[in-house]
């Protein structure tokens, strides 16, 4: 069930739009921020508030790459794999991250600290190779620099 705060927040979001369903992406992101991911129950609950069918909300939830239908780690790494980053050494950075966290792309580290996800162009091509961790952008990555960055996250 949605908490009263969650429900209030979604309703406030609806007020910014002409029709409630426009708020669906924001609603799913908001629940995800609080709970880590979007569960089946959340899909149904959000559908109820927005007067959509659960199938419509599920369609949205599974379309957008930054809405997570499965649990993720405490921090999400978005590793840019588009052309400029690829040219500038994406593979070496990905291999380093995978070895260090002992996971492959799409997986979460055993300690629940990081989920490593592939991302389309982050618009940081002048800083390639680049990645985001949560809301922070990091560029000009090298393996030692990646180690330093990861150490900041618990």
């Amino acid at each position: 069930m949605l908490t009263p705060e969650e429900k209030t927040e979604i309703e406030a979001e609806c007020a910014r739009y002409e029709r409630k369903r426009s708020a669906v992406i924001e609603a799913l992101k908001m629940v995800q921020r609080r709970r880590g991911c979007v569960s089946d129950e959340t899909v149904r609950d959000v559908a109820g508030v927005l007067e959509m069918t659960p199938a419509e909300v599920e369609g949205v939830a599974t379309f957008y790459s930054l809405i997570f239908r499965r649990p993720v780690g405490r921090h999400v790494i978005l590793m840019c794999d588009s052309v400029s980053c690829w040219t500038m050494g994406y593979d070496a950075i990905r291999e380093h991250l995978e070895a260090k966290l002992r996971i492959r792309l799409g997986e979460t580290s055993a300690d629940g600290r990081f989920t490593l996800l592939p991302a389309s162009c982050l618009g940081a091509c002048d800083l390639a190779p680049a990645m985001m961790i949560d809301e922070e952008l990091y560029g000009n990555l090298t393996p030692p620099k990646v180690d330093e960055i990861l150490a900041k996250y618990s």
Binding site: V24, Y64, L66, V83, A119, G123, C125
Partner: protein
């Protein structure tokens, strides 16, 4: 004579963007004051039409002409919508991020002026989630602009009202396609719509809607304030204005430069980007992001504008150079591009959904040394099958451009992969 800096003049990399007061002191919101006090919406449209401004999001459609498709007048459908497309995800492209983070008030002023020109009742900024810094800058600037009376009811006493909403998305390249963007804003999967009808007459909630790119809109205040003749005089060729060019790949100084439209590719690479890194040679470039045809070394002197790049079988796109060097495998690069497009295909139409996945699979096989005779021809036919008129939107068309041009320009490299059964670059 140094070229005139227009769109980036307030931007100080590494520093906070100008706040409202500083932006006003730099001449900000003067264009809006001028338009609201002494120009009709039609006059703003006419100025932009006359300026020759073409869309900077990739397609290059004349901006004034696009606006003119919106029905105005007393019996025209309402509400009308303006949506700023800040969903920049074209691989190799980061110009809009620079503008949004660096001078958010300029983008807001351009958004209000564009909305006024088409008499929009409501405006949205559709921003990709990953642009967190831009989101913070826009939120602050919108609050400041609203408090100063530049947004909301009866702007500057003109009788024109405009609410502006920041909508933050949740990933997927296809959201940048304008009809997919509108579906996304309606709380749906971002699949493109059939056209016609075009969004200009039947867009958001079935009402007339203009969607413009960030850089496009950034030009509008300057055209309004200084006139279309001044604007068209800024360029070096037939296409007007300045352009935000960028370069990424193995150049000494990857970055962004605002230069006259029509600046030669060679000047961008050799002068502004500092030339190729030591030990790397230029082989070709995508001149306007991932969705454009490779330009080979023999055309390095091409002017970076719409008409000139078409003459060398490519497109200006976003004006974002992505460079292919001699140490990078062209098959590997095209595989990277087609994997991107295959992943980002919304899956709505067959040529794109199946064609791109097939192309990516064949390219992977070739790159892994498992290519077979006939694969190149199959790739060529796939590129043709994703041609104009065969797909729902321009995603697959864009994907076909680097593929078809690479098969043409780097054919010997593809053949070597197949005959030697390995990637010669590994």
């Amino acid at each position: 004579m140094p070229a005139e800096i227009v769109l980036t003049r307030n931007i100080r990399p590494g520093l906070e963007p100008l706040d409202l007061k500083a932006y006003e002191q730099a001449g900000g919101y003067q264009a809006l004051r001028k338009a609201l006090s002494s120009m009709t919406p039609q006059a703003v449209q006419d100025a932009v039409k006359k300026s020759g401004l073409r869309g900077r999001g990739g397609a290059g459609f004349p901006t004034g002409a696009k606006w003119s498709f919106v029905p105005l007048g007393n019996d025209a459908p309402r509400p009308r919508y303006f949506i700023l497309n800040a969903d920049e995800t074209e691989p190799g492209t980061f110009k809009d991020r620079y503008l949004l983070e660096g001078d958010p008030h300029q983008i807001i002023e351009g958004t209000i002026l564009t909305s006024f020109a088409i008499q929009a009742d409501v405006a949205f900024i559709f921003l990709r989630w990953e642009y967190r810094k831009a989101a913070r800058a826009l939120e602050k600037a919108i609050t400041e602009a609203a408090a100063a009376g530049y947004l909301g009811r009866n702007i500057l006493g003109s009788g024109y009202s405009l609410p502006l909403n920041l909508h933050v998305s949740a990933g997927r390249y296809i959201c940048g396609e304008e009809s997919a963007l509108i579906n996304s804003l309606e709380g749906r999967r971002a699949v493109p719509r059939a056209k016609p009808p075009h969004p200009t007459v039947c867009g958001h909630w079935g009402k007339p809607t203009i969607v413009n790119n960030v850089e496009t809109v950034a030009n509008v205040p300057h055209i309004v304030l200084r006139g279309p003749e001044w604007y068209s005089g800024l360029s070096l060729g037939a296409d007007s204005g300045t352009k935000l060019y960028t370069a990424s790949g193995r150049v000494k100084r990857p970055g962004l430069w605002e230069l006259p439209m029509g600046t030669p590719m060679r000047e961008l690479i050799e002068q502004h980007a500092g030339g190729m890194q030591e030990g790397f040679r230029f082989r070709g470039a995508l001149p306007g992001g991932a969705s454009t045809d490779f330009v080979p070394e023999e055309f390095l002197d091409v002017k970076m504008d719409f008409a000139s790049l078409e003459k060398v079988r490519s497109r200006l796109g976003t004006g974002s150079l992505v460079i292919l060097d001699d140490k990078t495998c062209p098959v590997g690069m095209v595989l990277n591009l087609e994997r991107f497009f295959a992943r980002e295909s919304c899956g709505w139409c067959t040529p794109c959904r199946d064609g791109l996945a097939w192309a990516a699979r064949l390219l992977r096989a070739i790159e892994e040394g498992e290519g077979r005779p006939g694969d190149i021809e199959t790739l060529e036919s796939l590129a043709k099958g994703m041609g104009p008129g065969l797909t729902f939107c321009a995603l697959a068309l864009g994907a076909a451009e680097p593929l078809a041009s690479a098969l043409r320009l780097f054919r010997a490299d593809f053949e070597r992969h197949i005959t030697e059964k390995r990637c010669p670059w590994r």
